[in-house]
Symmetry: D4
Subunit: 204 residues, 8 copies
């Protein structure tokens, strides 16, 4: 049942050589290939040797789309992001969605303390079929969004914060205790997991 | 946009009188009504006064389906459950699914330490469009299931365990760190949230 | 410098006899007397013996206002409350404000997942000089309110929730990490502390 | 309602280029501009290019006051600080107060283990309209100060300590459990939040 | 080397029968006998059957002093107590000191938020050879006392508090991070351990 | 009773000089010598000076087997490893087993999310007399393995993961709460402890 | 491979009826049957209806040994227990060993603070093939025992303690960090797991 | 009452210039001067400029004893240390004792897993008037020592360990839960606090 899924490499803790080796091997097999948590040096190495590999320096992802890559559906995933520091996690989600063969729309810089920015975009947000909401600090955004839409919401806590933020644990706990219905949660900074799950939901 | 959604009462911390009052009021408005975390006494009171209200003593839910209630789709949600002690949480999810107008299939007593029971049912499980996996203890079941299916998986940790189980925190942490792709998580014992989100996914 | 302050009894862990004894003694001295965390039995005893003592069964406070009690200022404190289960904490704050000789306005049932209810009242909320925001679950309300007003906001986390709510620790952490400016925090369920601090702010 | 408020940049995680870019842009709009958590290199860059920008190397803040800047009131905020290692957090608070258009008085090196130093200054401290108390270690100072004054007290825990100090969590917990009335708390090391809230209180 | 030490029974989790049996047996051997954590029922049973056994209902201790019991030294231990709810722990310490054959002086209701009460007694406190300081809430008292005396201070955190007090963990952490020198700490509510250690210090 | 046991050096926090000094001294005494947690530089130094010392750069162990070294039994220990990032911990266990004079078989890259890889090897795994199962992330592998074998299983959590993995605490908690019988646990990343205990079990 | 293993029922959370029903059913199949965590009432019910079922009120176990039950080996397991409050956990281990068809020897009341009691028995302890060490409080006993024997040691933390004992987490953490080699750990109060694993080790 | 006490500088977070400046100033006043947590560079600077200043590179202390320094009593403090990695903390305690004008005896490398080493020295240990016991890992040594002596014991947890050691929290919790009487505890790695308190005890 692996048909229709990209090959994915988790780059954290792997050397440039290891990533290059696996990446090349998978590209050779003809599939879409995604590598996450790739530092700039390793990425440069891969991009030099694999034509078509694209590095996103914000999300730290490497993506290779084979010939014949095309979107699987008209449906789309909204990716909402609280602060500019949360953007890398949003980007990891977005490139994952792309690797899965799906479409996304970005809504950045939508914090709960400036809620008019959310309302300015709510009509576009409601057009999305699934929503990913990325937030650090108090992690309140998924609750507010969840109350305004009827699509499923995937909340992604980030490690952005300090002191009692506990490296993201606070955002995570907050999201798990949301008073909005229809919100599920992934691990801290796990943009990949959110993008992957959102893509599966488009296929239900 | 509340069309097609049940009215929901969170019964925890409410008196029998309060639950009865709200329940009656909502039934009167003609909608499907669901109450969760309802103790047996309150339930008895409601069932005596509201014809058609049904109490599930395992999941501790009260459900009232109005005339004309019907399933919204042919799709179905699989509810997998590790141990017998996890069944109440699974039941809360299932009745929620019913309240949302969807269909579920139960797979109970599927623990990771007796994995043949999972394999015995894997074909039926793979036919489900969304999966809810309920587990206490080490919370490993969603990882194993997630690796065997391509539908989205919602993991529900339960408070079943003792000692270093920390009232469910261990299962929760375990699920958030799953090595399977396509798994999202809700709060400990939150069968309602899982059933609600799964239902939204059927509508994507 | 204790002029203009009520006498306060912390009732938790005190017997009915102890509370009665201290309460009577302080009333006798002619001051406003406030007792918090008083159970119904103790309250009944005090009310029977002390004319003018008023028990609030929701906030579990006993208040005695001496002859000549009057409001100290025209300014007022808004008390905003997320869910009905948070009302007891809001009530503890409100009665404390009253004991301090100040005025409050209540805004109940203003959850972040139904944010239109907040907007329906925002003009009245903005007329308040100080705001107390009481919330359990994900504790997101103070962030949203803080972004909409320029008065100081005191956030009160409550122990309302379950599972990963950790008896209020989640709401507390969330509030400490608010991305809104102008928000300070008190201990879980500490309505008294919020009401007291808000009153001091009116006197700045 | 943003009238009378500075523009604020949170410098943590931003590059010198990003800070410079935003800072210049906001100065151009004619407002007071404050940047916090700015490292020396970024600050140097900004100061070279923006005339009138002042860097505080202890508090790591950049402040630009436009022509016509003046204090908004005669009231003043006392900033009390337990140990010399807590001074950077106190400085962040003080520069924020200045950015808000208010006045502060510093009381440094006032530890609870040498309480005569507190008493030596208590008369001056009592003249302040609002107090900010910054402390690491056991975080006891706000309790002692709170018991001696009737102004509102904002407690700021710091990350100064080791071992069971847990990077400031101990000071934070301690302050949240103060037995003094009239104390509210902000996040660990959040001098900005304390200065901002204290300034709002002056305007009540 | 057990000469000069009482026999001690830890009553928690023992039945009245068990306590009675051991108590009688030890009294019979002619030694001083101390039992801690004894509930009223068990105590009544022991007192009925063992002449000379004395129950302290606050500290929940049973003490039997054999004929010939006398104080071992002129030195004395000061037991300082923050709030009235902390008195039971102070009492456990005091009866332990008595069982060890030493003398104590009590200083109750000395909270940090009303520090004048401490100063009113400081001369008497300074006459003590060792000090035990019992406190719940923010646990700040040992720091203040430690800064005012040159005797060794034993800090005893109590479980008195709520919310972020975490059943005493906050007081404990606070005391371990004291900025006063000469303070050591025992477990939460461990009046016995404090009294025992203080007594050993008198014998150094 | 130290007969039949290697001399072991815990290299963490020791300088190259210290390790070399102790290593040489123990080799001189004629015993098998094992050093764990040795960085490459220290290892190079030892290997240059001690003939026969072998460095494993993955497990970061140094092993010296004296003349006459031989296996103590035909029995063998299976070392199962979830992800490639867990291999260093598995290697520490394996070299420890070798130092103890025992035999091991490696089963690498056996994750729960790809459970067919476990089944492909289950027959070989069942031939082992004791099993060591190394896993990070959700730590589910020991539960699955434990349910499939009747040999004792030693679970080794690793620090591999991020966010809510808490540096291995999640894997550890998960393993302690296994629903499989016959599983015991060692500290995070403690390959040495697992290898040592497994070897003792072979000698029972 | 279930040959030679008892059937086990985990009684916690099961009603008397449920336990009785399963117990009877398993006895009927002719196997050894063990139920753990059985309260006195349920046990009485089972014992009345199942001839040969034996209840251990300390360990709260029910054991039924079928005709033909016999010990599988001459080897034996030592069960060492720190305090009398730890005995119930030791008993759960011992009855489990018996259910597995093995032999145990008890060494009770062997605390680290009275280490001569350990030395008085060390010769007998060294004759055991596997050791189970049960301890609450600081959980130090397995380290001391582990240093004196060369058999594998299984450490069982118990929930016996108060305050900073954290319901057994302290003992658990302590045991996981033992400086003795050859010690593995099971969950808090998990006498069953220890007895089961120890029995498997006898069969290696 | 500061007569007979050294001046103490806490070097952590201070620059070489700051340490030098304060150190010189205090030496000039003619007192004993102690600085703790001093890195090698700062120390070199001080030693070059202050004749008589002595740096201990293990304990990272700087000590200056003025002319006329002499021991205050014949009594002595035993400093017991579990592993070689704990020695720096022991050294901090010892130099503090020296600064206080007291005498110490060192007992190093006394681990609980090799308890014969403790017994080999127990007679000398019993001659000490106060004991400091320094230990990382499971922190069991103070319990064992406490059971063998009748002098007061100060337990110092260290941050030596890994994984579930939690940077010393495990050792700390373990020591707070000791089953030995007469043990008090200081913060993790706080050799200074232990040495200071032990010295005060000699003066009781
Ligand atoms: N609900 C409350 N939460 C926290 N502190 C309180 C509360 N109610 C009263 N207090 C404080 O408790 C003090 C009285 O304590 P007590 O003397 O024990 O009755 C008052 O002066 C208040 O500062
Ligand atoms: N030191 C600080 N701690 C917490 N929040 C801050 C701090 N400094 C600035 N902020 C907040 O950060 C916002 C700006 O964030 P940004 O847009 O990321 O620069 C400001 O409006 C403040 O509310
Ligand atoms: N005290 C115990 N602690 C942990 N697991 C246990 C205990 N007693 C029995 N078990 C496990 O629980 C299983 C039976 O669970 P159940 O089917 O719920 O009765 C047995 O196979 C054992 O693996
Ligand atoms: N290693 C240490 N750990 C804890 N407190 C210390 C330590 N060294 C010195 N101190 C305390 O720090 C105080 C001096 O702090 P400072 O004025 O910041 O140098 C001394 O009076 C001691 O009470
Ligand atoms: Mg929604
Ligand atoms: Mg899957
Ligand atoms: Mg605001
Ligand atoms: Mg005050
Ligand atoms: Mg002192
Ligand atoms: Mg097995
Ligand atoms: Mg051993
Ligand atoms: Mg002793």
């Amino acid at each position: 049942f692996r048909q229709g899924f990209p090959e994915v490499i988790f780059g954290a803790g792997k050397t440039a050589e290891q990533i290059l080796h696996i990446f090349k091997h998978l590209v050779y097999k003809g599939n879409t290939v995604l590598a996450t948590r790739v530092d700039a040096n390793s990425a440069e190495e891969v991009c030099r040797q694999v034509e078509g590999a694209v590095y996103d320096s914000s999300g730290r992802t490497l993506l290779y789309k084979p010939e014949g890559y095309e979107l699987k559906t008209e449906k789309k995933i909204g990716v909402i992001c609280a602060g500019t520091s949360d953007i890398p996690v949003a980007r990891e989600a977005e490139v994952t969605i792309e690797a899965m063969g799906h479409r996304y729309v970005s809504f950045y810089d939508i914090g709960v303390a400036g809620i008019h920015r959310l309302f300015a975009q709510i009509e576009e947000i409601r057009k999305c079929d699934v929503l990913i909401v990325v937030a650090g600090m108090e992690g309140a955004l998924p609750s507010v969004v969840g109350g305004l839409v009827s699509a499923p919401v995937i909340a992604v806590p980030t490690s952005i914060g300090y002191g009692a933020h506990l490296n993201g644990i606070t955002s995570l706990l907050s999201m798990l205790n949301t008073c909005a219905s229809g919100v599920t949660v992934v691990n801290i900074d796990n943009g990949f997991g959110a993008g992957y799950s959102a893509s599966l939901m488009l296929r239900v």
